[in-house]
């Protein structure tokens, strides 16, 4: 559930949603086509990733070096990826789920453990990514990109004075910005904001903490222009929104279009997310998949992806090839002290019911 999925594929998500809403889940199950062609050609690799999530120039490089033909297919959301698996899709060699979805797929026994002996380039990946909540030790997943969800704002609303700029989440309750702020249309991120604002963990499973967070959001709701996940760049860049809960990549893109836009990670911390490369258990070409994983972790290749997508690379050795202006951005590559305060959104089991219920109540309020 990362920015690009919303941004670049919102329409497809809407259509998929329209199908399930109009014609029920049963119909949407039928709608998930399973590609039956899956030829077991030994010199092939089927990659299933997000749109625009790789520098297209590096695919031919891989094909030439290893003599393997790459079939690159894209998906619009983590949930759609899961739905493909639930419908029995079995011809993908590489998938790119976000952290919580890695855990979900792993728990459903859909991923295969990676053979680190065949991945010598794994040594380039920063050590802190080995201690993730969703896949400790990177047994099933290789981190691909990472980012945070923090505050994107327009300096003109704060007198262009650095002292007055927002520092923490409480700015979302500031009446002076009434009607000019946006929150994400995502229960985990937005309720997470309120939880952080109250000093709780954004993975809280305590009903009273979640309820307190939702009470705060109800208090905040009259000030909100809208809950949106795919219009954040547009509204920050146009100045319609002066304050947005934003994914770091989105805020970065808005800042390129409008010099007044800035992004900060609040003092009490934000949510941090990682997208990962995984090999499904059913992969027809696991050897080729490992070659791809190792290739992706080559410092020069990792840097090419970071330079193309503007998302941060977890590859330490790649940093020297990353464009200096990207690297200088604190919003893309925050210092360790800032990262230490951030939390991953984790799978919270049946507490999701509490989030859902509170979220629905907030929307019906």
């Amino acid at each position: 559930m990362r920015p690009r999925h919303y941004r670049r594929c919102s329409r497809r998500q809407f259509l998929a949603g329209a199908v399930s809403a109009c014609a029920s889940g049963a119909f949407s199950l039928a709608g998930c086509t399973i590609r039956t062609s899956a030829p077991k050609d030994p010199s092939q690799l089927n990659v299933y990733s997000w749109p625009d999530y790789i520098d297209p120039a590096i695919i031919p490089e891989f094909e030439q070096r290893y003599g393997i033909k790459v079939i690159y297919d894209t998906v619009s959301s983590n949930e759609a990826l899961l739905a493909k698996f639930q419908a029995g899709a079995s011809n993908y060699d590489i998938v790119v789920p976000s952290g919580y979805m890695v855990k979900q797929l792993k728990n459903m026994d859909l991923l295969q453990p990676l053979d680190k002996d065949r991945l010598p380039n794994f040594k380039h990946i920063a050590k802190r990514f080995s201690t993730s909540l969703f896949d400790s030790g990177c047994q099933y997943s290789i981190p691909y990109t990472f980012g945070t969800t923090g505050i994107g704002f327009n300096q003109s609303a704060f007198g262009r004075n650095e002292k007055d700029e927002p520092r923490d989440w409480d700015v979302f309750w500031d009446r002076r910005l009434s009607g000019r702020m946006t929150l994400l249309d995502d229960p985990r991120e937005t309720v997470g904001l309120a939880l952080k604002h109250l000093g709780y963990s954004l993975n809280s499973v305590a009903t009273e903490e979640i309820a307190a967070a939702c009470a705060e959001l109800k208090r905040q709701k009259p000030l909100t222009m809208c809950y949106t996940s795919d219009q954040v760049i547009v509204y920050l860049a146009s100045g319609d929104s002066l304050l947005s809960l934003a994914f770091s990549g989105d805020a970065q893109q808005a800042a390129r279009q409008n010099g007044d836009v800035k992004y900060i990670i609040p003092e009490s911390g934000a949510s941090m997310w990682v997208d990962n490369l995984c090999v499904p258990k059913s992969a027809p070409h696991p050897e080729n998949a490992h070659l791809w994983l190792n290739f992706m972790m080559e410092p020069r290749i990792s840097a090419a992806i970071a330079n193309y997508t503007w998302y941060a690379t977890p590859n330490d050795s790649a940093l020297k090839y990353v464009q200096p202006e990207l690297l200088a951005s604190k919003s893309l590559y925050p210092p360790q002290a800032t990262l230490d305060k951030c939390e991953e959104i984790g799978e919270i089991g049946s507490a999701i019911f509490a989030y859902d219920r509170m979220w629905t109540e907030l929307k019906c309020y």
Binding site: Q13, S20, E79, D186, G239, D240, I352, D356
Partner: protein, 292 residues
């Protein structure tokens, strides 16, 4: 229900050959309509496991949950929105259809009907995004009002008014077309006779035009009300996802919370309510003219 009102009376032989013609469409409906509905019902009796998979069962918990939670408010809100949309479409659409059918020469009617449906050749989402561009705080409408000297022009984007505007805009053609086709078939000699006998235009309208267009009104109301009830894209985009309607609730269950069982239950409830509403509407909202 529709067959009762729409199928003209037939002889037995014509009926049996009619059934043969129905086979392809029947098979299609069986596969893509009846079967999914059965799956929907089966799913609605199950529940979600912690991983979001559906576990089949035979419990009515999902239905109980719907009627005890904040969800009934969603349903009422959706009903109000759909009812207002339908009413406004009818109020705006009837004069339009009347003008199209009565005041335009036959040769020009097709041109105007084409113009009426022309916007639908563009993608629905594109048209909604166009409304966003017009209505947003830095958009065309606000800029225009500011040029007219208004200091702080009201922003209606992301209010319920914007949702209503978008719905009426989107569903108006679906109201006008059936109204037009009913009015166009109206026998003008009746109106001439009424005038000859001294009826005022208003009297002629209430005694002849309106009752004879009831079939079109019934069709138009159904064609607007039913999709408006389940619409979730318009509330999401023009309402800023700030208020949840029944369509959003269902979409949320399938795509965000991954609780397919509850989503199926809500869908089933919606289908039953809509079916019941249409049934009652056709049975009691009917006049002898419509049944003819």
């Amino acid at each position: 229900m529709n067959s009762q009102t729409l199928t003209p009376p037939n002889s037995a032989r014509a009926l049996s050959s009619g059934y043969a013609v129905l086979i392809p469409a029947g098979l299609w409906l069986l596969t893509f309509m009846v079967l999914p509905l059965v799956i929907l019902l089966v799913f609605s009796l199950g529940h979600r496991d912690p991983l979001g998979r559906i576990v089949l069962g035979s419990s009515l918990d999902n239905f109980a949950r719907f009627f005890c939670g904040p969800y009934v408010a969603c349903l009422c809100r959706s009903f109000c929105l759909a009812a207002f949309t339908t009413a406004i479409c009818l109020l705006l659409g009837f004069p339009c259809a009347l003008w199209l059918a009565f005041n335009l020469p036959k040769s020009r009617q097709n041109l105007y009907l084409t113009l009426l449906v022309a916007p639908m050749w563009t993608a629905f989402l594109l048209r909604i995004y166009a409304w966003i561009t017009i209505l947003r705080p830095t958009g065309l409408l606000a800029a225009g009002l500011r040029n007219l000297g208004l200091e702080n022009p009201p922003v209606i984007l992301y209010t319920q008014w914007a949702v209503l505007l978008g719905m009426v805009y989107n569903y108006l053609p679906y109201m006008i077309l059936p109204l037009y086709s009913a009015l166009e078939k109206l026998d003008r000699r009746l109106l001439e006779a009424a005038a000859d006998l001294g009826a005022s235009p208003w009297r002629a309208f209430t005694a002849i035009t309106f009752p004879l267009s009831l079939r079109g009104i019934v069709a138009g109301v159904i064609m607007v009300f039913v999709p408006a009830l389940g619409d979730y894209v318009t509330p999401d985009l023009l309402g800023g996802a700030k208020s949840m309607y029944i369509g959003n609730l269902i979409q949320n269950q399938f795509l965000t919370v991954r609780d397919w069982a509850f989503g199926s239950a809500v869908s089933s409830i919606l289908i039953v309510i809509v079916a019941a509403a249409i049934f009652i509407y056709l049975k009691y909202g009917d006049t002898p003219e419509v049944r003819d």
